[in-house]
């Protein structure tokens, strides 16, 4: 089955709570560049994310992955170029009214003054998505999907790193998103928890056909659950293809990045390559 077929077969998003179908959204990044002062973080990046796919952005630390994701979420304005979500500018309030977009932050970004339950209930309450009873059902369902039923009354400070990530995903799920963005969802987690989170992302895509963009340097996650993978280095998109393309690539920078070697026979302080992003 071709890549296009896989994507087109699931271009409708299914609401996790009501089962109602909506069009999955696409994302278009065109000639995107971003500078913070004199520091160029993103340089002329262009790619499309098709409706319903899991698009993974990989790259070494400091390559601009999270900044790219923040542009797609509408939290940053480009220095040049543009980002559109379903043809709309994500920085506008009207776009977020029309397209339900959720971002799972690297550190969770949970509201520390609210309990887990209230963190999840905030969005439906503020947007008046039903009465308190309907909101309660929705929140408890999301907590159940993420195996967090017992944590409803806990506060973020009482949760482990893995639980915070799951609460953050549950909070995103309650928003009934058409586009789900993940910033390093498996970082700082043990391998088992990392695999669990990867599986949750894949399940959300399979069950609800949400368009997902995942920023990560988790090789296993990228090669296992993604539809396509883009490699970002020093602010440039140097490769874009399927996980199989990535496995078979001969590009030395990507091979080195995906298969780092530890020279245990002759350990030494290596001179790290500096990022050329000025």
């Amino acid at each position: 089955m071709s890549d296009e077929t896989i994507v087109s077969s699931c271009s409708k998003t299914r609401n996790p709570f009501t089962g109602a179908e909506a069009d999955a959204v696409s994302v278009k990044v065109e000639g995107l560049s971003k500078k913070f002062g004199s520091l160029a973080v993103l340089r002329n990046i262009s790619f499309d994310v098709r409706p319903g796919e899991i698009f993974v952005i990989m790259g070494p630390s400091g390559s601009g992955k999270s900044v790219l994701l923040r542009h797609i979420a509408g939290l940053e304005t480009p220095t040049s170029g543009r980002v559109t979500v379903d043809g709309l500018d994500p920085t506008l309030e009207e776009t977020r009214d029309r397209v339900r977009l959720a971002l799972v932050f690297q550190e969770g970004a949970l509201f520390n003054s609210l309990s887990v339950y209230d963190n999840l209930a905030l969005y439906p309450r503020e947007h008046r998505s039903g009465g308190e009873k309907a909101i309660r059902e929705k929140v408890l369902h999301a907590l159940k999907i993420l195996s967090l039923e017992k944590s409803a009354d806990q506060f973020p400070s009482e949760l482990s790193g893995g639980m915070k990530k799951r609460v953050s995903i549950a909070r995103a799920l309650v928003m009934e998103p058409q586009l789900l963005l993940y910033d390093e969802p498996t970082s700082e987690l043990d391998p088992v928890m990392g695999a669990t989170i990867s599986e949750i992302i894949a399940t959300l895509k399979q069950e609800y056909s949400v368009t997902s963009i995942v920023v990560t340097h988790d090789r296993e996650l990228a090669l296992t659950i993604s539809t396509r993978v883009g490699i970002l280095m020093a602010g440039k998109l140097i490769s874009l293809g399927t996980p199989d393309d990535l496995k078979n690539t001969k590009e030395p920078r990507i091979v080195d990045f995906l298969n780092p070697k530890i020279d245990i026979e002759h350990p030494r302080f290596k001179v790290l390559e500096t990022q050329d992003i000025t």
Binding site: R96, A102, A109, L110, F111, L122, Y123
Partner: protein, 250 residues
Amino acid sequence: MKQINMVLEGAGSMVLLLVRAASYAGSLPRQWARFVEQCYLIGYTTLPIVAILSFFIGTVLALEAGYSMEGFGAKEFIGSLVGLSMARELGPMMTSVLLAGRVGSAITAELASMKVYHEVDALTTMNIPAAKILVLPRLAAALVMMPVLIIIANIVGWFGGSVVARYVSSVGISSESYFAALRHYTKFKDVMNGMAKAEVFGFVVVLVCCNIGLNTRGGPREIGAAVTRAVVVSLILILILDYFVTKLLM
């Protein structure tokens, strides 16, 4: 030039934040719980320190007045001096200074840490404006609680003055003559002027502190710097506005 730009930028973003918050004023009844929580923080928790401060301001005023008026044989006017000073100037001013130090710093610290740890970004992606749920309830609570704090500050200050007038031998006037002078010279208009001042100061302090908190970038160090900046800017604005509001109300 850089400093002027910073001042203009700060003023601009403050006005913008105020306009944004005001545009959500209709949502206030649905934010009743948040509003009450802010009233509790701005009003109730500030009350003890306002009372203590006001009491001793009243006592010092009476003491100084007793010392300086003795030479004129005008000690019976101590009550009017304490009454007018508290109602028109020291009550609203010192309560606003306390508000900046106690509540304003807490507001900036909370909002700055929410900004630095991406909670404000999370609100943005949820399409829940920070101006609506973080700023509006605080501004509304400041408007409601400032007059309450001022009334209490005035009463406690006047009472503090009467204690000194009655029990300190160097002053030595009866409570009856102290309060008679206070009642005679301190008009309702004076008390209302003081309240109007306090409303302006309290509103500006909360707005400045919210604005600086929400514009914080960086890490924990910047949160501390933001708190310091918020308190300093608030104090400077209180003093500047004090002149203009006093002139306007004369």
